[in-house]
């Protein structure tokens, strides 16, 4: 069964690329249903920081080899600390994506066993990928402030 027949609210942006916008709690069963209908390849989970709307957009992307279709399930959660259910039980690799998003955006995923630090070991500041984090300023007053080795 193609994605469109399954979910009437799916819009087809162009041939082979479908976008579904839903709420936070319906994502789990959508992915499950797609997974059973030969959408077995979970492409990636990404996060977009809409700072003006004050929302994070989480996009779960799946691909079906049979129908050659790319489905994007996108949900919006507000930026200040709203947590999301972990989809780890459906696809194991989601755990790493969620871990990265947790480190880079600060989204908390309930049910993910190891949300510990991933790339930035011992990063004390706020998650760097958020729009309100000014990298240039950080670099200017951290890396360049580290003193040269003075040879007296």
């Amino acid at each position: 069964m193609m994605a469109k027949e399954l979910f009437p609210e799916a819009q087809e942006i162009r041939k082979g690329r479908i976008r579904i916008e839903t709420q936070k709690d319906k994502v789990g069963e959508i992915i499950k249903k797609l997974k059973d209908n030969s959408y077995e390849h979970f492409v990636m989970l990404s996060c977009v920081d809409w700072i003006k709307e004050g929302k994070f957009e989480l996009v779960y992307q799946m691909w079906s080899y049979q129908y050659k279709e790319h489905v994007m399930i996108s949900i919006k959660i507000n930026r200040d600390g709203e947590s999301m259910l972990s989809m780890r039980h459906l696809f194991p690799q989601i755990e790493t994506y969620e871990r990265e998003i947790h480190e880079m955006f600060g989204v908390n995923f309930i049910g993910n066993p190891n949300l510990k630090e991933f790339i930035l070991e011992g990063w004390p500041h706020m998650p760097p990928m958020r729009k309100d984090f000014d990298t240039e300023k950080f670099v200017k007053d951290f890396y360049y402030k580290i003193p040269e080795v003075k040879e007296e």
Binding site: I119, L120, E121, G122, W123, P124, H125, P128, F133, T135, E136, F138, V139, F142, Y143, Y144, K145, I146, P147, E148, V149, K150, E151
Partner: protein
Amino acid sequence: MNHENWSKLARIMSKRSLWMIHFCTGCGAMEMPPVMTSRYDMERFGMHAMATPRQADVFLVTGYLAVKTLKRVVQVYEQMRDPKYVIGFGSCTINGGMYWDSYNTIKDLSKYIPVDVYIAGCMPRPEAIMDSFLKLFDMIDKGEAIGWQKYHKYYDQYKRNQRMAFSYRLDEVKDIKEDDKE
């Protein structure tokens, strides 16, 4: 033959057999194969690629260094035995290169470990690398390649910079000064 020119002779002889270990952190590793194989063949200078820092003399840092990788680079550098030399490849080690504004990469390698020779270029070509080897040999002859002595002399400064980088904070260094006795 008194001690002074004996060590001079030793230095001259040892420069003809510098064993190399390289930490391919970034895209510089691609430049090493042509240097080792038939076209340029660094073995002409007696340089041989070694697998462990214990056996190595010269340390090639090729490419940008994330803070996490810096921790490993410092560990390898400290495991090498004196006299040891460091060659920094490409602009990333000089001033962060195209990652100048990244929150995660260090900007200047010489703040953390003493670097003897820098090779400019966003990944220098093999000829540049061979030239840097010759430059290193001259410095060793003239006794200028004293990076490893600098590391001992200013050990606390280097350690302070390293801890600052690892903890991503400038102020953090003050309270744990006393435990750092070389």
